[in-house]
Symmetry: C2
C-alpha cells in the first residue's frame, strides 16, 4: 500500500503544527521508499528535523532513496557526527552510489569522518570501474564456515544478521576466505541443528569476478533465477555480494542505453525531465551531424542522375516511398538481431542461419510489397487520380521495392552481427545507420533499373 | 560455476557406458539450470532414464527449465503416475506456464491425473489473463497469524517451508485470509522467540490485485526494491505471491515488446532463431505495408511539384538528406519520450515541459545542422566538387534543414505523449511512423521555400 493521499495530508498537517513526534510516529509505519517520497515535499528545515527523529537504521534507508540534490543539501546541514552515523548505517554499495554523485568536498568530508578501515574500503570501492561487479557489490553478507553446525550458523546470523544486506543466501568460505559454497536460509532452518554446513551447502556456486561486466552478470541472474550472487577476486576469495534489486536497475539501465543508442542518441542515465535542454541537444547533435553528412552522399548519387530526373520528374515522386520502405525493412531486421544478441539468443556464429532467414523474409516481404505497390499504382494513382504512370515505370518501381526490401533485410541483419563480432555494441547498427546505407542502395537500384528499362540516359 | 566442459564429457561418458547411477550422482552436484542444459543434449531414452533417477524435488525443478518440445516428448513417455508426481512437485506458477504451452490432450491428461482440489486451482489459474498478476503468481507462500509468537511461526516454516516458493517474506492473514501484514525471515529470526507476530510485522504491505497488469507490477518491484509481493482479490484476501525471478522475465519481455513495436514489428515472445521465416515475415509485412502506403502520400506531395523538379533537377538531390535528418531528429525525441514514459519518469501532464525542452533542442540542433550544411555545400560541393549550387538554393536547403529539425523534434515528442493520453502504447509512435509524417513535412517546407525563394512555379 502506498502512502494514501489522506495520510500524507494528515502527517503534513502535524508537521505544520510542529507536532514532530506525532508526525514521526505516523511516518515510521510506512515503507522507506514512501517516506523518501514524502520528504521530497518538505522544506529543508522541516525535513532535517523529522529526519533526525527517525530510528537510525530507518533514517539511513530513507536517505538511500532520496534524490542527490536533497542529499547534498542535507549533508551540508549535518554535523560531522551525523554524517558519520548515516554512513555507518548505510550498506557499502549505497555509500558508494552516493559518493560517486557528490562533489569532491562532500566526499572528502565523508572520508575524513570515516574510521580508517572504512576509509580504505570506500577508497578501494571507488576505484572499481562503473558497470563492473565491483561497483555493484556490497560487503554486508553472512560468511559461514564448513565445519560449523546448522545451529552455530543460526547463532551467527542472529548476532550479525541485522547489519547484512541479505541473509536469504549465506556463503561458506575457507579460512583463507576462498568461496566454498552457498546455503539458503531455508535449508539452514530446515536442517537438523546438529548437521554440518558442509553436508547441506550447495558446493557449485555461480560467482563472478570484481571486474566482470554488469550486463553479463544480469544475464546470469536471469538464467539461474538468482536473488544474490557472490563476487570473488582472482584468487577465488569472496569479496562481496550483488543482490537482485541492484540487478533490476542494471537491466533497466542497459535497456535504456540500448534504446538510446538505437535512436542515435549518446546514452545517459539522467532522467529526461531533469536534464537541461542544452545537454539534451548536445547528446543528439553529434549523431545527427554524422548521419546528415552521410546522407549527402545519397544526394550525390541522385546528382549523378540529374538528367534522368529532368527527363522524367515523376521518377522522383516514388523516392520517399522507396527510401522509407527500405529503411523500415532494414530497421526491423536490425532491431530483432540487436535484441536477440542482447538477450543472449543470437551469437556471431549464427550468421548463416540469420542470413538464410532474412533472405527468405526479404523475398516474401519484397514480393508482397512489390505486388501491393503494383496494384496500388494501377488502381489508385492511375484509375482514381488519373496520374497516367506508364506501365514500364510501374514495373521499375515495384521491382525496386522488392529488391530494396531484400537488400535492407540482409544489411539490417548483418551489420549488428558484424559489430558484435568486432566487439562493438550491436545497438549502434540500428535504424539511423541502416537507413542511411539502405537509402543509397535503394536509389542505385531504382536509377539503374530506370535507366535500363525506361531508356533514360544518366 | 557452470557445468565445466570436462565434467559434461565425463557425465556423458558415464551415460554412454550405462553407469546411470554414477551419472546421476555426478549431476545432482550441479544447479538445476545446468542439469536442464545438459539434458537438452541427451537422446530421449537416456534423458528419461536419468530423469527418473533424480530426487523428486530436483527433477521437478529441472523439468521447469526444459524447453517445451522436450517437456512434451517427456510427458508422452511418462506414466500417469509420473505425470501427477511431477505436477505435485512443481510450483503452481510453473505448472500453469507449462500447461499454457501444451496441446489440449496433454492438458486434459494432466488435469485428469490431478486431485480435485488441484484441478480446480489449475482451471482457475488458466483463466487469468496473460500479463496479469493472476497469471504470474503462485500459491506456495507462508501464511502466518497475528497472534502467533515468533517461535510458533518458525515451527510452521520448518514444517511447511520446504514446499514454499520463498520463505524470505512471510505473510500475515486474518482468519478470513485478509492480508494484514508481512514479515521477513530476517526479522523472525532476529526476534525474541516469545514476541508476537503482530508486534514485529510490517503492517503496510504493498500488494496488487489479480487483474493488475504485469508492467505496473514490475514498476512497483523496482520502486520498492521488493523480492516478493502478495496478490489479493477484491476483498483483500491473499490469493498468491509473485516473486522477483518472474518479474525479471517480465521486465525483459516488456522491453523486447517495446523495442519490437518501436521498429514496427508485431511483438512476440518467441526467440528469433526458433521462429519460422514465414512467421517472421508475417509479423513484419503488415506494418511495412501500412507505412509504404502512407509514404506514397509523401510521393504525391512531390508529384504536385513536378514542374519545379523538372526546372531544377538538382533540388531533388537534397531530398534524401532532408528526409533522413528529419526522421533521425524525430526518432531521437520519440525514443527519449517513449522510454521516459515506460520508466514512469514522464507523464501526460508533463506535455508543456516536454514541448518547451524539445523546442529548445530543436532550435539549437536546427541552427547547428543548418549552419553545418551551409559550410559543407559551399566548401565541399561547390569548391571541391565544383557543383555550382546557387547561393539562394543553399539558403533554401539550410533553412529547410533547420525548420525540419524543429518540426521533427516537436512531432517526435508529442505523438508518444498523445498516444499515452488516449491509452495507446506510446511505443507505436516511434521511428517508422514519425519518419513517415516528418518526411511529408520536410518536403512541404522544402518545396514551399524553393518556390518562393527560387522563383520556381509549382
Amino acid at each position: 500500500m502506498e502512502v494514501a493521499e489522506m495520510e500524507v495530508e494528515k502527517i503534513y498537517e502535524l508537521i505544520k503544527n510542529r507536532q514532530y513526534v506525532q508526525a514521526r510516529n505516523a511516518l515510521i509505519e510506512y515503507n522507506e521508499v514512501d517516506i523518501a517520497d514524502f520528504f521530497e515535499r518538505l522544506e529543508n528545515k522541516e525535513l532535517i528535523r523529522i529526519f533526525r527523529l527517525l530510528p537510525k537504521e530507518l533514517s539511513a534507508e530513507v536517505f538511500s532513496y532520496l534524490p542527490n540534490e536533497l542529499r547534498l543539501q542535507m549533508v551540508e546541514s549535518f554535523s560531522d557526527r551525523e554524517v558519520s552515523d548515516i554512513m555507518n548505517e548505510l550498506f557499502l554499495d549505497d555509500t558508494i552510489d552516493f559518493l560517486e554523485e557528490m562533489p569532491a568536498n562532500v566526499v572528502r568530508r565523508v572520508l575524513s569522518n570515516a574510521n580508517p578501515k572504512m576509509r580504505k574500503l570506500i577508497n578501494q570501492f571507488l576505484t572499481y570501474p562503473e558497470d563492473s561487479a565491483g561497483s555493484l557489490m556490497t560487503i554486508e553478507y553472512v560468511a559461514l564456515k564448513k565445519d560449523m553446525t546448522a545451529s552455530q550458523a543460526m547463532d551467527i546470523i542472529r548476532k550479525t544478521g541485522v547489519d547484512k544486506e541479505t541473509i536469504n543466501t549465506c556463503y561458506v568460505v575457507s579460512p583463507r576466505r576462498e568461496l566454498e559454497g552457498a546455503i539458503s536460509i531455508r535449508n539452514l532452518i530446515l536442517a537438523e541443528p546438529s548437521q554440518k554446513i558442509d553436508s547441506i551447502m550447495q558446493p557449485h556456486v555461480i560467482s563472478v569476478k570484481t571486474q566482470d561486466d554488469q550486463e553479463q552478470i544480469a544475464m546470469l541472474f536471469r538464467k539461474y533465477s538468482l536473488s544474490a550472487m557472490p563476487v570473488v577476486d582472482n584468487e577465488n576469495r569472496l569479496v562481496g555480494i550483488i543482490t537482485i534489486d541492484d540487478i533490476v536497475e542494471v537491466i533497466e539501465q542497459e535497456n535504456t542505453e540500448d534504446m538510446h543508442k538505437m535512436a542515435a542518441i549518446e546514452p545517459s542515465e539522467e532522467e529526461y525531465l531533469k536534464t537541461g535542454s542544452f545537454v539534451l541537444a548536445r547528446r543528439r547533435i553529434i549523431w545527427l551531424f554524422v548521419l546528415m553528412v552521410s546522407a549527402t552522399f545519397t544526394g550525390n548519387i541522385m546528382r549523378g542522375y540529374e538528367n534522368v530526373l529532368a527527363a522524367s520528374a515523376i521518377l522522383a515522386s516514388f523516392i520517399p516511398m522507396l527510401m522509407d520502405t527500405g529503411g523500415n525493412a532494414g530497421s526491423q531486421s536490425a532491431t530483432l538481431i540487436i535484441r536477440g544478441i542482447a538477450l543472449g539468443q543470437i551469437a556471431s556464429r549464427d550468421v548463416f542461419r540469420v542470413l538464410l532467414k532474412e533472405l527468405t523474409v526479404g523475398f516474401v516481404a519484397g514480393i508482397v510489397l512489390g505486388a501491393a505497390n503494383f496494384i496500388k499504382i494501377l488502381l489508385v494513382d492511375n484509375m482514381i487520380f488519373k496520374a497516367n504512370i506508364p506501365i514500364t515505370l510501374v514495373w521499375v518501381v515495384c521491382l525496386s521495392v522488392s529488391l530494396t526490401v531484400i537488400l535492407s533485410k540482409v544489411v539490417g541483419a548483418l551489420l549488428p552481427l558484424l559489430a558484435n563480432k568486432v566487439r562493438l555494441d550491436p545497438a549502434i547498427m540500428a535504424s539511423p545507420i541502416i537507413t542511411t546505407i539502405v537509402d543509397a542502395g535503394a536509389l542505385i537500384i531504382y536509377f539503374t533499373l530506370a535507366v535500363n528499362f525506361l531508356g533514360l540516359f544518366a
